[in-house]
């Protein structure tokens, strides 16, 4: 007896995810490439505070109630975030101090960069010690190499951090997806592979564009942030578009994609957070911190509406804390 099978074309959820990811990247590239300054202003206004709150929510969900044998790792990680963030803010807000010459300013920022790199190297080393049959002491030579570069070419080092930061979010998503949605990982990596293509298309399209206007302090800050002063030979239109494109993807990852693949990261599922639901947890403290976070987001929106430029400056100064906080959690996931 013959069996007749009808071949049906069915889209899997992973294929839909890949298609949506690539489509969103394409749309973002077109809009941002056409209106980079407006896109920068709009994305920071809409998503900057929200993505920080979502990150905090995600880290809270990943934080164990008892640190156990990770006590040293978490102590050093969180302690480093607090100390480095405080030092950064001190440097930032005391810039222009009459006691500091340009040289003093340079070596103080280079010292901060060195501390940051060595902190990271030690975190890698500690993580390696927790993994069986792993020796991650290679982190020290790599750290020293990066520290050397941070002293020799400090301006490129600082700029590279601006451009590397969005990729950290993509790395988080990759690690999280391997744990909670492994069936999407190939589709996600296809989506990731499309990002360099969009970047190359943006660069081809914008390389010969004239520089963006920087006659207002806000536009000047946006172009400076993207590195127009450090890379004067490259069109600031291209630099701002590249930066905003990557930042937008990173907002998209934190606000939408991570909660999509990790039920513990869905904002309203607070009972999934061990620090909240465990009998040894700190539910009141956690609720309080989340409420304060929500208030800060509202305050940021208000601030952006009243004085966008000043609020943007303040936001990006304090945002160093979330940049730093990402590393202990990311390294812990490796």
């Amino acid at each position: 007896m013959q069996e007749i099978r009808q071949a049906r074309f069915e889209l899997t959820s992973a294929q839909v995810f890949a298609a949506l990811f690539v489509s969103m990247c394409a749309l973002a590239a077109i809009v941002i490439g056409s209106f980079p300054l407006a896109a920068s202003i709009a994305t920071v206004f809409l998503f900057a505070g929200v993505h920080n709150l979502m990150e905090f929510r995600y880290f809270a969900a990943r934080m164990p109630v008892r640190w156990g044998r990770s006590r040293l790792f978490y102590s050093f990680g969180i302690g480093g975030v607090l100390v480095l963030a405080a030092a950064y803010l001190t440097l930032y807000f005391s810039s222009g101090n009459w006691l500091w010459s340009n040289d003093s300013w340079l070596w103080l920022t280079a010292s901060w960069n060195t501390s940051f790199i060595l902190w990271l190297a030690f975190l890698f080393y500690l993580r390696g010690r927790q993994r069986p049959r792993s020796d991650w002491s290679w982190a020290f030579p790599v750290g020293f190499l990066l520290a050397g570069l941070a002293w020799i070419i400090p301006q490129y080092w600082s700029l590279s951090l601006v451009y590397i930061h969005p990729f950290v979010a993509m790395w988080f998503l990759d690690r999280q997806m391997r744990r909670t949605k492994p069936e999407w990982i190939t589709a996600y990596r296809v989506g990731l592979a499309s990002i360099p293509i969009f970047l190359v298309l943006l660069w081809i399209g914008l390389a010969r564009q004239p520089n963006l206007p920087d006659d207002t302090s806000l536009f000047w800050r946006i172009t400076q942030h993207a590195g127009s002063e450090i890379l004067p030979g490259i069109s600031s239109h291209l630099l701002v578009a590249t930066h905003v494109f990557l930042e937008t993807i990173h907002y998209f990852v934190w606000i939408l994609l991570i909660p999509l693949i990790d039920v513990k990261a869905i904002p309203w599922r607070i009972e999934r957070i061990p620090l909240f639901s465990n009998k040894f947890g700190f539910p009141k403290l956690l609720i309080g911190a989340l409420c304060i976070g929500a208030l800060v987001v509202a305050a940021l929106w208000f601030g952006f509406a009243v004085d966008y430029t000043r609020t943007r400056d303040i936001y990006f100064a304090f945002a160093i804390a979330h940049v730093l906080a990402e590393f202990p959690f990311l390294i812990k996931m490796l």
Binding site: W100, S104, L106, P141, L145, A147
Partner: protein, 197 residues
Amino acid sequence: MKRIVFAFMLGAALATAAFADIAKPQKPTKAKASIDSLLHISLKSDAKQARLIIPKSQLAQLRAQLDQMGGADDTAAAVVSGTGMGNRLPTIVGGLFLSLAIVFGGIWFARSGKLSLRTNSAIVVLIIFTAIGSAATFVYGNAGPPPEARSITGKMFTQAVHLYGFGSGQIKLETSDDPDQPLELIVPNTEDGSGEE
């Protein structure tokens, strides 16, 4: 431990007193950093060397600006950077960290037990390529700008110098007594593009 913390606190307290004793420098008067002028560039085939003619009246204005800015030395900056190592410090510390990277990288590599005939060969090849690359930097480091950019002539305005981005050459600075004359740059423009370098 308590002693160390106490020593830190004492040091920090004394440091603030020390900084507080430094007199705050007087804010420099906001001198205009430039004076408005007009530059006239003329290409002359009979000129042998580039000349920049500055009217004495404008020199007087410039001197006045310099006199005004003379009191704006940043003494506080000298106090903090102090040692005069400002420019060299990044290179020294950067070099130190690069050396540490090589030392620690070597120790890690030796400890990791990855030394074999194959890896040794790879290291030797890497060292040879690095040496060749380093030698290449000497070659390129000594390469000068294109000939058009090495002297101030009419060829300074050609595409070759535009691509290179800048040029330089000797120039004579002269003054003029005529108060109505604009700043004038006289550029030799001979057929062969020669000028005194």
